[in-house]
């Protein structure tokens, strides 16, 4: 198993690229490429940055699982996947072909017309959500501005509550 978080993230990126490949194989070129841009180009980088910014103490490694959580997790997940699989096995009538194996491919123009026509509200709302999320993420990730009097520190020092500095000072005081 992979012990390093960064390896996990990169393998996750690879699997996202694989999903994009499946989209393209299914004839949905546009979706696959959009998936590549969003996941490989943006989310993977976000995750990797988040790992680097938050995982100092753990030296970028993953904790070993206890036997209990391991068994429970795999059992539940296996159960769900098994149910899906069984349901799938008893489904009939899914033999139709499409995409790369001969069927029609997704027309980007058609998708665009749908997005800009009948489903324009959904499209706009998605855009709005994205914008709001972006602004929210920026605000969340900004360092907290604390008033000078409350923190009693110089403004250009790290914000109050910063662990390393605060603990060290607390340790000296105690």
């Amino acid at each position: 198993m992979l012990r390093r978080l960064v390896h996990c993230a990169l393998c996750w990126t690879l699997s996202m690229a694989g999903v994009a490949g499946l989209y393209i194989l299914a004839g949905a070129e546009f979706l696959g490429l959009a998936q590549l841009i969003v996941y490989v180009g943006a989310v993977a980088i976000l995750i990797v940055f988040a790992i680097l910014l938050t995982q100092r103490r753990e030296l970028l490694s993953i904790e070993r699982l206890t036997a209990g959580s391991w068994v429970t997790g795999v059992a539940v997940a296996g159960l769900v996947a098994g149910c899906l699989w069984i349901g799938l096995a008893y489904t009939r009538g899914l033999g139709g072909a499409g995409g790369a194996s001969g069927g029609p491919a997704l027309e980007t123009r058609e998708l665009g017309e749908l997005l800009m026509g009948r489903y324009v509200v959904a499209f706009e709302v998605a855009g709005l959500v994205l914008t709001v999320a972006l602004i929210g993420a920026v605000i969340l990730a900004l360092p907290f501005e604390q008033p000078r009097e409350a923190s009693g520190r110089r403004a250009d020092r790290p914000a109050a509550g910063e662990g390393w500095d605060a603990r060290r000072q607390g340790g000296q005081g105690a």
Binding site: R4, V6, H7, L10, T13, A17, A20, E29, F30, G32, L33, A34, L36, I37, V40, G41, A42, A44, I45, V48, F49, L52, A105, E107, T108
Partner: protein, 417 residues
């Protein structure tokens, strides 16, 4: 052999007399069909994919070698010195000597490096860039792959370069590498947006994501003289300028080459690379430059279209590579002229200047299309100037406004003064 006719293999092995114009224009396609024709039925589908791939890689591999020499020669000339002139005629075989040097150098991997990622990073850097060369139309019917979303494909595979930069920086276990990787990623992500926005303008006007169709949309001439390239319109001109600025940053070229910044962070994410792996990074960088230059040619400069109707006798791929050469020369000239930016200037420039102007340019293109219906005398000129003013004036005013704000103007040294 007479001058009008040359015996040529056309199509599936059929011989017929063709003129030299047609021979050069169709030659590569015939050659491919002829080579494929020899193969058994099962291998044909592979060969049809493989032959263009090998051809593109061979041509661009050679171009890479020549471009490194040309860059060094032109930079030398810009600095009033001759540049490499020892190996081969006028030094043009210098790249062979460089290649041998790179191949025979020791491949040093830091002891605490993550060996697998350290090994994979150059590959992940080069492979997607090479892939993005596949969708560029090099001539009439000369394109390795024409997916319906060629432009999107270009940007999608290009996004793997960020992952590669991170892999290289992180696996080296060197703080300079990691810092360089962070810079590189921040820069690539920031400049991807203006790049895509300026390309999007063209997509909107051409009505297609396929690069082949975008080139075909630029065929024809106004009054039989001025080619209908996108660069001849105000939004196209502005788009080209924006695109080239963003492209220089996205391919880590000077003056935006901070990720390598030899003098500041000793080589960025490539610090711990040597020998052939370094050569592959280098190759990836040049291929990236070729790819964005090719894309700029395709989107704005009419791709393989000839600039004049009478010049269409020359083969179309000749025109493409001529334009590509001009773009590469432009990149080299820029590198020889402009000093490297500071990192905050770089990000400010991308986010606060290029991005709003890219969005505005989209609007200008819309207006340009809307004004297409004017029919009074001189309407063309009025339309042209109006659209130019719409993008030009905000560019100037916004630039002046930004220059007045903090962090943009000349540097103020707090302690040194």
């Amino acid at each position: 052999m007479n001058m009008e006719g040359i015996l040529a293999l056309t199509g599936w092995g059929g011989l017929r007399w063709v003129g030299p114009v047609e021979l050069f224009e169709r030659g590569p396609v015939w050659l491919r069909d002829w080579a494929v024709g020899w193969l058994p039925e099962g291998a044909k589908v592979w060969a049809e994919g493989l032959i263009p791939a090998v051809a593109v890689l061979a041509v661009f591999g050679l171009l890479f070698g020549l471009a490194t020499v040309a860059e060094r020669k032109l930079l030398g000339r810009i600095q009033n010195r001759p540049g490499p002139n020892r190996v081969g005629p006028y030094g043009w075989l210098q790249f062979a000597a460089d290649g041998v040097k790179m191949l025979t150098k020791e491949d040093v991997v830091p002891r605490s490096a993550d060996r697998v990622l350290h090994f994979l990073a150059p590959i992940v850097m080069l492979a997607p860039v090479a892939l993005s060369l596949a969708v560029i139309p090099y001539g009439r019917d000369l394109v390795a792959a024409d997916p319906r979303c060629g432009l999107l494909f270009f940007f999608a595979v290009g996004s793997a370069a960020e992952v590669a930069a991170f892999m290289a920086g992180w696996s080296s276990r060197n703080k300079y590498s990691l810092l360089g990787a962070m810079r590189a990623i921040a820069q690539m992500i920031s400049y991807e947006l203006p790049l895509v926005l300026s390309a999007l303008t063209v997509v909107m006007m051409a009505g297609s994501l396929s690069l082949v169709e975008i080139v075909e949309a630029q065929s024809g001439y106004w009054w039989g003289v001025i080619p209908r390239w996108h660069v001849m319109t105000p939004w196209g001109l502005a788009g080209l300028l924006l695109f080239m600025a963003a492209a220089a940053a996205a391919s880590n070229r000077a003056p935006f080459d901070l990720p390598e910044g030899e003098s500041e962070i000793i080589g960025g994410f490539m610090t711990e690379y040597s020998g052939f792996k370094y050569a592959i990074f280098f190759m990836g960088e040049y291929f990236g430059m070729f790819a964005v230059s090719g894309l700029a040619v395709t989107l704005f400069l009419g791709g393989w279209q000839a600039p004049l109707a009478v010049l269409e006798a020359a083969p179309s791929y000749g025109w493409f590579f001529l334009k590509l050469g001009v773009m590469i020369a432009w990149f080299i000239w820029v590198r020889g002229t402009l000093p490297r930016l500071r990192v905050d200037h770089l990000l400010n420039f991308g986010w606060k200047y290029l991005l709003p102007l890219g969005a505005l340019n989209l609007l200008v293109a819309m207006v340009w299309r809307g004004l297409g219906g004017w029919a009074f005398p001189g309407a063309g000129a009025v339309r042209w100037l109006a659209c130019l003013a719409m993008i030009g004036l905000p560019a100037i005013l916004w630039g002046r406004l930004l220059m007045r704000s903090r962090g943009w103007g000349p540097r103020v040294y707090r302690y040194a003064s």
